[in-house]
Symmetry: D3
Subunit: 135 residues, 6 copies
């Protein structure tokens, strides 16, 4: 159960600032489906617009990383942070962008290995090598 | 400061199981440089071999994800886990594999955005949409 | 499902050290409701008393921060730690202490922004400015 | 050491999009001091503007929570996330906004107590009480 | 719900590399029960073998720590990482290896106390005493 | 650098509630050394007493787990939480209580393995097996 009520389409229709973002999400995704994350955020229309604006700019605009790689990075962060909702939503998004079963398996293996070596380096408090300094 | 002594080359030479892994790392990387992580792990030669074996298999073998993408995922996990050593070593590794400044900037922006939406979804305890179920 | 059995009122009545804490909680809250957290802790009566004692001293005694601000801080930590139970119980407690929808929305936005800039500062490994040193 | 070079004032002057944000920060804070966080972000001017825009909107605009309470929440999240830079910068910011030693001590005690009960609720996997459901 | 399908026994039987690991797990545990973790990993047979190989080597081989102590450490890490699945599976494993209710209660109390002092030391950014340096 | 001043012995002598705890710590440890953690906490004498009281009760009293095992659990939590100070202080404490190099190596390997499988179970969102339910 959520700590806020999830906004229904009927409620969203009545708040122009929310309706505007929901309309944009539907247009961008060419789908009528609005997932729960946006319905939870919608009680704060300014925040809803800020988050959607960033998603468009960081995940949607052309750039130096392809759209699938961006989703893999998103899943990696969400896993390390233990955000169940985000793992589900971005794994689904990655699949929609073409992630194969083999790519998912490699992603998961890298996440697990990083989790392991992160813990090892932290337990041993390994000092950073001066060779890693950015030039 | 580390919680173990970092093994010197002279000490490593005297332990065949450690020398074998250090030799492999040097050959694989075509460099004489052994970074501190391995020098901290070397007191447990079996663990040293296990971790190096996984690095080879998961980060080094041909597969469905290219080597740079793998490093980006590694940096993402290490950042969310707050492993300073790992962030430095894998950012250096990504640069060595061709990561550009623009790619790094996008990676960092995605990590930050995921950090934000992870916290939002968790604070609001958003329930997973049934639409995300794997088929 | 919990990793321990949740203690029922009937069981609690039979253990004086547990009954004493449950009675105190009920009196302090002017409510008969004992939430599951205390029922899980009750198998270790000394720990139950230690935790309740701290809650009284840190959350309940008059001091430099008002009761609602204390709950907002509690929700913030619980969110960053991903403790679903604690997010729910302290969001309910904050509402009981007068938290409005607008205050909750601002709290959630700050938590999200902090999550984002925490990840950015960590990914970039920004060194602490000497200006921040406590005087 | 950072994973990017920290941008100097001389470099920032030469990039209009960076100069514009640095100028705004200086005006808003009535101080010439630009802390390292912004110097690290400046290599991605669009991201620099996005983050500063959110700081202004979420931390700086009038609202339902006072400016000091916002900083306390920021410190709480940053501590749970282990972001050393952010703990230092926002503790300094809270002091600049009037945080007393007594308020800081209470904040730290609440953060510690939340850390403890978060771990207890998680170790025991306490199920959320239906009474906490948002109405 | 999982982000991958959990492999059934019938499917596992048809993949020799999976069947081999499942057979080993059953033999090692003297039980026909294969828990969901392995059924989720099984889609990547090489990873399944790597993880099982480590479990055998690190958790199962004779060494300097007894089997129950190893499980207590595993629960401690899993709690701090908020891994609900792992907390459940390793608490069950610890009970199967003889963990008493009193030992579980002490474990949980230590985990909670460490959670608290971790947050305190981080909030206060306490510098490491030179006396703790490894000799 | 800390976010509070570390209290000197001279300052502590002048505050009876602090002096009392410092004296107790010195007596319990049969050593004049007071580590920085206590010097940071000392500005809040009530909190200093609460934390020291818990350390005595949970780490120092006879019970179902031996003193070294308690320290290993403490290190495990502190590592997963990334608390550098706590990793150093409790690794030193464990060594003082007899932890051998072999025990430390096993501890670190278990912490690393748990880190890895925590990340795998979370990435795959493995559902808890009903067999793990506490009876």
């Amino acid at each position: 159960m959520a700590t806020v009520k999830l906004m229904t389409d009927q409620e969203a229709e009545a708040i122009p600032a929310v309706k505007a973002v929901f309309d944009e999400i539907r247009a961008a995704r060419k789908s009528d489906f609005i997932n729960n994350f946006w319905r939870g955020l919608a009680h704060d229309p300014a925040q809803l617009a800020r988050i959607w604006g960033q998603i468009k700019a960081i995940m949607g605009a052309p750039g130096a990383l392809d759209p699938l790689t961006r989703e893999l990075i998103y899943i990696a962060v969400s896993t390390a942070n233990g955000c169940s909702y985000c793992i589900h939503s971005h794994t689904a998004a990655a699949r929609a962008k073409g992630m194969t079963g083999a790519q998912h398996a490699e992603l998961v293996a890298i996440i697990g290995l990083a989790g392991q070596t992160n813990h090892l380096a932290t337990a041993l408090q390994i000092p950073v090598d001066p060779e890693f300094q950015v030039k």
